[in-house]
């Protein structure tokens, strides 16, 4: 064998050198591309943040570019005086918490029920559930329906429609089907009914997948903006934080319109001049909860997306 390769050694090493050079260039370009893309993804967050903590005068004169200057946290404190921000924050937090809990419990229970082959009309009802993923009546009929059900300008309008989430139910169902059936059977022999089996056997075993859908559900609730825009137009007290931010962003009126008139102090006046930083600070407040849950999120989403791929 060695004899055979010997004459070719020169050409091989030349080719080898070429491959090494090609690999090197490829690696450099590859690292370069991903570094740049990662910076592009990260920079807006950073830029927004340094603008909110820098001196407001420097921000408005455009002096803050890559590094914060004149660090202070006055903008965050002055948010306390922004009209309606508190109620929006409360609405966003409560819809996220209540909506997510109910959605997770419902998905877990329904996911368990649809694995039960003896259910009356199981196939039909399962299809009844699945079809809703691919077909909807459209925005206007949906709105008219919500208004008919009395869910417009009503906090429950955020919660009740999102309880049933077919996609999450399928994720749970797939997960439950991977749990050994013997566990359920043993509990049934001990005399446990369906609900007891669900509560004592299935639910505890499903925790990983429930954590996954809980985090996705919470992010969805927190980020949701159009439902506030469409359903709650008659009751500004029920606007979500995202909606409030959208209003601030698109509003061309003076910042003082946003402030409760009573509390304008001298310190505030400087920040009043700078509407931009107020907008950015509201955005940061909207962003921070996402950044806090993100580490938990990243732990679960790969699992979630893979389970989603084997749906059906």
């Amino acid at each position: 064998m060695n004899d055979n390769t010997l004459p070719k050694r020169d050409s091989i090493s030349a080719q080898h050198r070429k491959t090494v050079a090609g690999n090197l260039i490829f690696n450099i370009l590859n690292y370069l591309f991903f570094t740049l893309f990662a910076i592009a993804c990260f920079f807006p967050f950073y830029y927004l943040f340094i603008n909110t903590i820098s001196d407001n005068d420097l921000v408005s004169s455009g002096a803050v570019k890559l590094f914060p200057r004149g660090i202070h946290f006055g903008n965050y404190i002055s948010l306390l005086n922004v009209n309606d921000l508190g109620s929006s924050f409360l609405v966003s937090v409560s819809r996220t918490v209540i909506g997510t809990i109910l959605m997770v419990l419902a998905s877990a229970f329904v996911g368990y029920l649809v694995t039960k082959k003896e259910m009356w009309g199981r196939k039909f009802w399962y299809r009844f559930l699945i079809i809703t993923m691919y077909f909807n009546a459209g925005l206007i009929p949906w709105y008219l329906n919500m208004s008919m059900l009395g869910l417009t300008n009503n906090f429950m309008g955020y919660i009740i429609p999102s309880i049933m989430s077919p996609y999450n139910i399928i994720l749970v169902k797939t997960y439950i089907e991977s749990i050994p059936r013997e566990l359920e059977e043993a509990a049934a022999i001990d005399g446990a009914g369906y609900f007891a089996i669900f509560r004592k056997v299935i639910f505890p075993l499903c925790k990983p997948i429930l954590a996954t859908i809980a985090i996705f559900g919470a992010v969805g609730h927190w980020n949701s903006f159009t439902d506030s825009l469409i359903l709650m137009s008659g009751n500004p007290k029920l606007f979500t934080l995202q909606h409030r931010l959208y209003i601030y962003l698109t509003s061309s009126s003076n910042i003082s319109a946003f402030m409760s008139s009573g509390n304008v102090t001298n310190e505030m006046v400087t920040s009043l001049l700078n509407m931009k930083t107020i907008k950015f600070t509201v955005a940061m407040v909207t962003l921070i909860p996402i950044l806090i849950v993100y580490p938990f999120l990243s732990k679960y989403f790969e699992k979630g997306i893979m389970l989603g791929a084997v749906k059906g």
Binding site: T19, V110, L113, W120, A188, Y246
Partner: protein, 502 residues
């Protein structure tokens, strides 16, 4: 999904089947009639035309009994002026509302009774009784509503209030009476309960009843909106009633093509939609490439950091992304300051204004948001590829790119194919969030996609809510085309891969 149909069902066995032969002999037709009537009552509860609380011309003609029963606002809304001027007593409205609420509770009780009749004898008796109790409660609520009628007639401005006895009162009284009678017949014909009978229900019905509340939710929020499609066939303005007078058939469908302004709007909006979806389809290979190139990076820590950082944008809302765009690209934004400092130009440019390249800009923001996230499914798929394939290829002398070309890409193709088909099926649905937040006076013509158009036409923008029929028509056509596209995509998938995607 039904791989294990053959397996023995432990839970089924564990529940003893005790229903003895004598108690099974129930008058089936009566039972079925009772169930149908109660279900009919529950359906009538959602039909605005049968709302028994429409005691005045001022009440909202599109509110059903259910709506009135759960929210006082829906009843009092039309009377706000009358209440302010003191034409009508507040207590009359309140009592009407309480009547509606009691009727609703009665009907729900009857509904529960209907569900309980699925059980064995003892439960059947309870179900029948609940049906009767519910019927009586419902009737009591109706009576309470009806005794408010003089309050409407004797109001200070009878010509404005226009008191009337609605059709719904008769309808509900008739059906409820029928329900009570049949309920009594049912109870009488049921055999006597013996010691042996227990409170039992067959497991299949038990499971169904547990599922039922969720079926109701699904029905209310995913199927009931289809009922709203009827607005497409009426000359509807908010507050009006849907009657045979303003029924216009397919007028609005024809209007789409005949009215030149609407037609050009539709063409413009469709162009935008297809352009943006098309750009999305053209770049649908990017997540795949992203995943492959990322997998080529052997430094684990670097790879993890990149993956983490590029995924975050997917989890923030479009409103926040617009804030970023505003911070970076507006007149005072980072890019302008940077370029002016660098001497590229002196006058700042607002990159968010104007319609030049707006499709492309939207595409870039879309990629910024979702490229890293969309790559995850491919990254996971790459880790799932059998390593022996690569080892064998290395032994055969395949280089890095040969391995990518001949192993990685073919292994990822099925996933890519499915996602591509789903993207084609969703070509008309780009959502509205992104375009709504980036929309402004200077780009509104080129940024408006179909979803946003429907929203602007029906709920936002000029003309208030007057365009509801037309926007319903557009939404209807869109939904139907989307479903057809999905089935077509599914067909293609079945033909090529032998697997369905939905």
């Amino acid at each position: 999904m039904d791989v294990s149909t053959e397996e023995v069902d432990g839970t089924n066995k564990s529940v003893p089947i005790t229903a003895n032969a004598s108690s099974v002999k129930v008058k089936k037709p009566v039972e079925i009639a009772l169930r149908i009537i109660i279900i009919g009552l529950l359906i009538c509860m959602f039909i605005p035309a049968f709302n028994p609380t429409h005691l005045s011309a001022l009440s909202d003609k599109n509110a059903s009994l259910f709506t009135t029963g759960i929210s006082y606002e829906s009843l009092s809304e039309g009377f706000s002026r009358a209440l302010k001027k003191g034409w009508i007593e507040q207590s009359v409205l309140t009592m009407t509302y309480i009547g509606a609420l009691i009727t609703c509770l009665g009907l729900v009780t009857a509904g529960i009774g209907c569900a309980v009749t699925l059980g064995e004898l003892r439960l059947k008796r309870i179900g029948g009784s609940l049906g009767i109790i519910g019927g009586i409660t419902g009737a009591a609520g109706l009576v309470l509503t009806l005794v408010q009628y003089p309050g409407y007639v004797n109001s200070k401005k009878p010509d404005k209030i226009e008191a009337m006895i609605p059709l719904g009162i008769y309808v509900f009284f008739a059906i409820i009476a029928l329900c009570i009678i049949i309920g009594i017949i049912y109870l009488v014909t049921l055999p006597k309960v013996t010691e042996k009978d227990k409170y039992e229900m067959a497991p299949k019905f038990k499971l169904f009843l547990m599922f039922l509340p969720f079926i109701v939710l699904l029905f209310l929020f995913s199927y009931l909106p289809l009922w709203g499609w009827r607005y497409a066939f009426y000359d509807y303005t908010p507050g009006a009633e849907l009657t045979s007078d303003n029924f216009v058939g397919f007028k609005w469908f024809a209007y789409l093509f005949e009215n030149s302004a609407t037609r050009s709007d539709i063409i413009r909006v469709l162009t935008n939609t297809l352009a943006m979806s098309g750009l999305g389809l053209l770049t649908s290979w990017m997540p795949l490439a992203f995943a492959i190139f990322l997998a080529e990076i052997k430094n684990n820590r670097f790879r993890r950091v990149v993956q983490t950082v590029t995924t975050i944008p997917n989890f923030i809302s479009w409103v926040l992304i617009y804030t970023f765009a505003f911070a970076l690209f507006s007149t005072e934004g980072f890019v302008n300051q940077f370029l002016i400092d660098a001497g590229a130009y002196t006058e700042p440019v607002n990159f968010l204004m104007g319609e030049d390249g707006i499709w492309f800009k939207m595409l870039l923001w879309g990629l910024w948001k979702s490229l890293g996230w969309n790559a995850i499914i491919y990254i996971a798929a790459i880790t799932g590829i059998d390593q022996q394939l690569y080892e064998a290829a290395t032994i055969d002398g395949a280089g890095r790119f040969a391995k990518i070309w001949h192993i990685t890409i073919p292994e990822l193709m099925p996933t890519f194919f499915v996602l591509l088909l789903l993207a084609i099926a969703g070509i008309l649905s780009n959502g509205m969030d992104q375009y709504l937040v980036f929309k402004n006076a200077t780009n509104k013509n080129t940024i408006e996609v179909l979803d946003l158009y429907v929203y602007n036409l029906g709920l936002g923008g000029s003309g208030g809510m007057s365009q509801i029929p037309l926007s319903t028509v557009v939404g209807m056509v869109k939904s139907l085309i989307s479903v057809i596209l999905l089935f077509a995509a599914n067909r293609v998938s079945k033909a090529i891969r032998g697997e369905s995607i939905v």
